[in-house]
C-alpha cells in the first residue's frame, strides 16, 4: 500500500474493476493525469483469480471471457500486456440426465431433430442480425430524449437507421419479441426441451428473472449484442484475474497511477462540484473529475451522501433493484469426475444444467420467496482442463455459477450456505456420479459474500438489474445517464451504467470518452 504520488490529478477513479481500469487507460492515453484507487488488495473487482483452497485457484467472480468485444481487446492491446488465452471458441454442453447431451455454441453443431436444427439455424441468423444492429449502441453513451443536444439527436437517428436497415421482417420480429419472455418465444420455435432450457439459461443468467418473466428476450439480445451474436467462449490463462492484470498493466503503461488497498472514504465536494476524494487513510486527493467504478448506491449514498443530491434522485437510487440472485460455488477436486457421455473436448467448455425451461422457472419460484432453488440451474466450467496451473498436478477445479440464490434468504445464509452447497453437488453429481468423492474442499459465494468481497451493494453482477426500466437510456436511473451524475465533476464508469456488467469493459471506455468530451 503506497500513497498517491501527487496531490492533484486530472481524474481520480474510484475502484479498480475492469471498467475502472479500462477508463483509466483511455484517459491516461489521452494525456490526462489519472489516479486509480482500489479498496481491495488486488485489482480486477469481480474479474479476479484467487486461491480458495490450498493450492487451488479459481476465477472467483466471472469465470468466462466472452463479452469483451474484439475491438476493445485490440485497442487495449492486452496481448502485449501479458494476456494469453488458455482456450478460445469453447463449446457449450447442455447436460441431459439420459446422457444425450446437447453440444452447441462455438464451432459445435448441435445434434437435433431436423425441425429443431432448421429452427436453430434460423434463430441464430435472426439473433445475429439483430445483435449486429444493436451492437453499436453499446459503444456509445445512450442518447437522452427531449434535449436539444446534437449528439443525442444524431445518436437516436443512428439507432433508428440501424433498426430500419434490419428490414421490414426482422424489425417486425424484433418489435414483436423484444419485450416478450424467453419461454414463450422458445415454445414458438423449438421442440427439444434441452435446447429450450439451454437457450433460456442464457436469457436469465445473472438476472433476477425466470424464463417466463417479461424482458428476458431483451436480456438475451443484449448479451448477444455485446458479442455480435457470437457465443464463442474464451478462458484466459490464469483465469479472469489475468484479464485484470493485463488491464492494470495497460493502464500503468499508459501512465495511470494505480493503487490498491486504498479505500476511498468519501467524495469531496466544493461549491457544488466534485473536487476530489478523501481516503480512508485520512489523506485527501484533489481532482478535476472524480469517476466512480463503484455501484450507484455505494457511489451516491455512501461515498457522496444524500445531502449533495436532490431527494427525488436519491429515492430513485435507493429504489434501484440491486439484489443479486446468483451464487458461485468453487470445488477443489482431487481428480476429474467421470461425466457420463462427455468426451474431454466437450468438458473443456461450459456445462449447463438446464434440462428444460420449466426447470428454470421452478428454480426461480424459490427466489421470489426468499429461498434458494431446490433444483438450481448451473453453469459449470472446469478451467483446469485448459489451464492446469490453477490446481496441483492431476487435480482439478470446478467453477459453478448457481442460480437462484437470493440476496435476502429467509432462513439466513449462515445455515443455508452448506445446504445449498450440498444441493449443487448433488445436482451436478447426477451427471458425474463420483463427483462427491472427488471434492476435497468447496467455497460458496452467495450474493452477500459477493457484496462483501467485491464491494458490490446487493451482490448483483451487473450492479443493478438489467431490466427494461433500468436499461439503456434510463440506466442506472434518469438523472445519472451518459456516465454523468447530477453533481458536476462526478462521473460513473461501472456496470451500473449502460451497457452493464459482465467482463465487457465498454462502460469504462464510454465513460472515458464522455469525460474527455465534457472536460476539455
Amino acid at each position: 500500500m503506497s500513497a498517491p504520488a501527487r496531490s492533484r490529478y486530472d481524474a481520480v477513479i474510484i475502484g479498480g474493476g475492469h471498467n475502472g481500469l479500462v477508463c483509466a487507460t483511455y484517459l491516461a492515453r489521452a494525456g490526462r493525469s489519472v489516479l486509480l484507487l482500489e479498496a481491495a488488495g488486488r485489482l480486477g473487482g469481480a474479474a479476479v483469480t484467487r486461491e480458495f483452497a490450498p493450492g487451488f485457484r479459481v476465477s472467483a467472480g466471472a469465470h468466462l471471457l466472452h463479452l469483451m468485444p474484439p475491438g476493445l481487446l485490440r485497442e487495449l492491446n492486452l496481448g502485449a500486456h501479458g494476456l494469453k488465452m488458455a482456450a478460445a471458441g469453447l463449446p457449450t454442453v447442455a447436460l441431459s440426465r439420459d446422457g444425450q447431451h446437447l453440444l452447441m455454441g462455438g464451432r459445435a453443431v448441435p445434434t437435433l431433430s431436423s425441425a429443431d436444427a432448421q429452427a436453430y439455424t434460423e434463430w441464430r441468423r435472426l439473433l445475429g442480425r439483430i445483435a449486429a444492429a444493436l451492437h453499436p449502441v453499446l459503444n456509445e453513451p445512450p442518447p437522452r430524449l427531449g434535449t436539444d443536444a446534437w449528439s443525442d439527436r444524431t445518436a437516436l437517428m443512428r439507432l433508428g437507421w440501424r433498426l430500419r436497415r434490419l428490414g421490414r421482417r426482422d424489425l417486425r420480429e424484433l418489435l414483436r419479441v423484444g419485450l416478450m419472455n424467453i419461454h414463450d418465444l422458445l415454445e414458438e420455435r423449438f421442440q427439444s426441451p434441452l435446447l429450450k432450457g439451454a437457450l433460456a439459461l442464457d436469457a436469465v443468467l445473472g438476472t433476477n428473472y425466470g424464463p417466463r418473466s417479461p424482458g428476458t428476450v431483451l436480456s438475451l439480445l443484449y448479451r448477444l449484442a455485446a458479442t455480435h451474436g457470437s457465443d464463442a467462449l474464451s478462458l484466459p490463462e490464469g483465469g479472469l484475474g489475468a484479464v485484470s492484470a493485463a488491464l492494470a498493466q495497460a493502464a500503468t503503461a499508459a501512465g495511470a497511477e494505480v493503487l490498491t488497498s486504498q479505500p476511498v472514504a468519501r467524495i469531496l465536494v466544493k461549491e457544488d462540484r466534485a473536487c476530489g476524494v478523501a481516503l480512508a487513510s485520512g489523506a485527501e486527493v484533489s481532482a478535476g473529475v472524480v469517476i466512480s467504478n463503484a455501484d450507484p448506491k455505494r457511489t451516491f449514498l455512501d461515498l457522496l451522501g444524500a445531502e449533495h443530491l436532490d431527494a427525488g434522485f436519491v429515492r430513485r437510487i435507493a429504489q434501484l433493484r440491486t439484489h443479486g440472485v446468483t451464487a458461485k460455488l468453487h470445488l477443489a477436486l482431487q481428480r476429474l469426475p467421470q461425466f457420463s457421455g462427455l468426451d474431454a473436448a466437450a468438458l473443456r467448455g461450459r456445462l449447463l444444467v438446464a434440462p428444460d425451461a420449466d426447470y428454470l422457472e421452478r428454480a426461480y419460484n424459490h427466489a421470489k420467496y426468499g429461498e434458494y432453488s431446490q433444483a438450481p440451474m448451473l453453469e459449470v466450467t472446469l478451467p483446469t482442463l485448459t489451464d492446469p496451473a490453477l490446481a496441483p498436478p492431476g487435480q482439478h477445479v470446478a467453477s459453478v455459477i448457481v442460480q437462484y440464490a437470493p440476496y435476502r434468504l429467509a432462513e439466513g445464509w449462515d445455515g443455508g450456505r452448506q445446504r445449498l452447497t450440498d444441493i449443487v453437488i448433488d445436482t451436478l453429481g447426477a451427471h458425474a456420479p463420483d463427483l462427491r468423492q472427488c471434492v476435497m474442499a468447496s467455497e460458496l459465494l452467495v450474493p452477500t459474500d459477493i457484496e462483501r468481497e467485491f464491494g458490490i451493494t446487493g451482490g448483483h453482477w451487473h450492479h443493478a438489474e438489467l431490466a427494461f426500466d433500468q436499461f439503456f437510456m434510463v440506466r442506472p436511473v434518469p438523472g445519472a445517464t451518459q456516465y454523468r451524475t447530477p453533481l458536476p465533476g462526478l462521473f460513473l464508469c461501472g456496470a451500473g451504467c449502460h451497457p452493464g456488467g459482465g467482463v465487457m469493459g465498454l462502460a469504462g471506455r464510454n465513460a472515458a470518452r464522455q469525460v474527455m468530451h465534457e472536460v476539455a
Binding site: 457544488d272 445531502e307 436532490d310 431527494a311 434522485f313 436519491v314 429515492r315
Partner: protein, 403 residues
C-alpha cells in the same frame, strides 16, 4: 376527537372546535379541507372579513398538516429539504419557507418552528409524508405526523393582542413577529399551557395558538367570552381568502398546483416564478431543486406571479390577461382575485409572462359578468403593482398596541 361512526360513514374528520363552530354557523356552509370539515362562511364573508381588519377573528386551522421532525440530522434534513437556510432559525423562531422537487418546482409551502436543538415542527398545507420520507433517505431523522395531536386556532386582527392578554397569557406582549413560545392561561381545571406563535395568514397583527385537543373548547370559550368587547368573531375560509390576497400570500391549488400533483407538463411552478426568490438561499449549500433553480435564475424567468390593480370593482376571477384591449395576445391569467374593502381597490394575483412582469406594466383583463344570467364581457385595465397590497405597521409593533 371522538368519532362515533366508522370513517366510511363520515369520511371527513371533525376538529376539536367543530361543535363550537357548528353552534355559531348561521348558514351551514362547511367545506372539506385536508380531510376535515371546516367552515367556509359562518354568516357573511364580508362581516367576517371586517373582524380581521377592524377587531379580532378566530380561525380554526387544525387541519393544517403538522409534522414533528427530530433526530441528530433534523437540521441537515430540513436544510436539504427547504429552500431557506434553516440553520439560521434559532429555537423560539418560526420561518416561512417552501420546498421543491428535483426540477425546482414547488411542492408546498409552510412554516418551520424551531422548538429546540434538532427539534422542529413543520406545518404544511398538504400531506408531505411521502416526500419527507424520500428526503429522509440518508439522514438520521424521525418524522411523525402529529396533525391530530394538536388543535390550532388563529387569533388575528388589531385587537388580538388585547384579547390574548385578556384571557391571561402573561408575557404575550414580548412575543415578536415570527417568534413562538409556551404560555399558560387559567382554565377551570387548572392552568392550560399553549404554544403561541406570532404568525398568521392575514398580514395583520395576529397570533396562532397551538394546544392539546382536550383544551380546545376551553380556549375557544375563553376567547369568545373575553372577546365580546373586542369584536371577536369566528371566520371561515372565504374571509381568510380575502385578507390573504390583500397580504399578497399565495395558496396551493389557487396560485399554484403542487408539483407532486400536476399531470400536465408546464403547469408546475417554481418559487422564482411565484415571486418567492427571497426564500431561496443559493449560498447555504445543496438543497433539493437547487441546481434546477440556479439554472432558471441564470436563464431568467419565463413568467412570474405579480399583483394587479384592476379597474372597476368587479373581481377578476380567473380572468385571462392580454397585452392590448383587442385581446389578440395573451399575457397570462389571474389566479386569485378579490375586491379589497380596506384598500378600496380591485386586487388580483396573476401569473404573467416575463415581458410584462415589471411594476407599472399595463395589461388588459377580460372579466365576465353575470347580470341575471345575461353575460357581459368587460376588458378593463390591469396594472402590475407592488405586493403586499395591505401591510399595516401594527402587524410588526412590539409590544403591540391595545386597540
Amino acid at each position: 376527537m371522538s368519532q362515533e361512526s366508522p370513517h366510511f360513514r363520515q369520511p371527513l374528520l371533525r376538529t376539536p372546535f367543530h361543535e363550537r363552530a357548528r353552534a355559531l354557523s348561521q348558514i351551514d356552509r362547511f367545506i372539506p379541507w385536508a380531510g376535515y370539515t371546516t367552515v367556509d362562511v359562518f354568516s357573511s364573508a364580508e362581516q367576517e372579513y371586517f373582524s380581521v381588519r377592524n377587531a379580532s377573528s378566530l380561525f380554526d386551522l387544525t387541519p393544517m398538516v403538522k409534522y414533528r421532525i427530530t433526530g441528530a440530522d433534523a437540521l441537515r434534513f430540513l436544510n436539504r429539504l427547504m429552500t431557506r437556510d434553516i440553520g439560521k432559525l434559532r429555537p423560539g423562531r418560526v420561518a416561512y419557507t417552501v420546498w421543491c422537487d428535483d426540477a425546482g418546482m414547488m411542492i408546498d409551502d409552510g412554516t418551520v418552528f424551531c422548538t429546540g436543538e434538532n427539534e422542529y415542527l413543520v406545518c404544511t398545507a398538504e400531506r408531505q409524508l411521502d416526500w419527507f420520507a424520500a428526503s429522509a433517505i440518508g439522514f438520521d431523522v424521525r418524522i411523525s405526523e402529529i396533525t391530530e395531536e394538536i388543535a390550532a386556532l388563529a387569533v388575528q386582527g388589531p385587537t388580538s393582542y388585547a384579547l390574548l392578554k385578556g384571557i391571561g397569557l402573561a408575557g404575550i406582549e414580548r412575543l415578536k413577529p415570527f417568534e413562538h413560545g409556551n404560555f399558560t392561561m387559567p382554565g377551570t381545571d387548572g392552568a392550560i399551557t399553549l404554544m403561541v406563535s406570532r404568525t398568521g395568514f392575514t398580514g395583520d397583527l395576529g397570533y396562532e395558538l397551538w394546544m392539546e385537543p382536550a383544551d380546545a373548547t376551553a380556549v375557544w370559550d375563553a376567547l369568545m367570552r373575553r372577546g365580546s368587547s373586542r369584536g371577536v368573531r369566528p371566520i371561515g375560509s372565504q374571509a381568510l381568502n380575502m385578507v390573504r390576497i390583500e397580504a399578497g400570500f399565495i395558496l396551493p391549488n389557487m396560485d399554484f398546483v403542487s408539483a407532486a400533483h400536476t399531470l400536465r407538463i408546464g403547469t408546475e411552478r417554481s418559487p422564482l416564478e411565484l415571486g418567492l426568490a427571497w426564500l431561496v438561499d443559493f449560498k447555504k449549500g445543496h438543497f433539493t431543486g437547487r441546481r434546477a433553480l440556479l439554472a432558471e435564475q441564470q436563464r431568467g424567468p419565463l413568467r412570474q406571479l405579480v399583483g394587479l390593480d384592476i379597474e372597476g370593482t368587479k373581481p377578476a376571477h380567473n380572468a385571462l390577461l392580454y397585452t392590448e384591449r383587442s385581446g389578440r395576445r395573451e399575457a397570462g391569467s389571474v389566479t386569485s382575485a378579490t375586491w379589497s374593502p380596506t384598500c378600496k381597490r380591485n386586487l388580483a394575483l396573476a401569473m404573467v409572462d416575463a415581458p410584462y412582469i415589471a411594476t407599472g406594466s399595463l395589461l388588459w383583463a377580460e372579466i365576465y359578468l353575470n347580470r341575471e344570467l345575461v353575460w357581459e364581457r368587460r376588458m378593463v385595465r390591469a396594472r402590475v403593482v407592488e405586493r403586499p397590497f395591505f401591510a399595516p405597521a401594527r402587524r410588526r409593533a412590539t409590544p403591540p398596541a391595545e386597540f
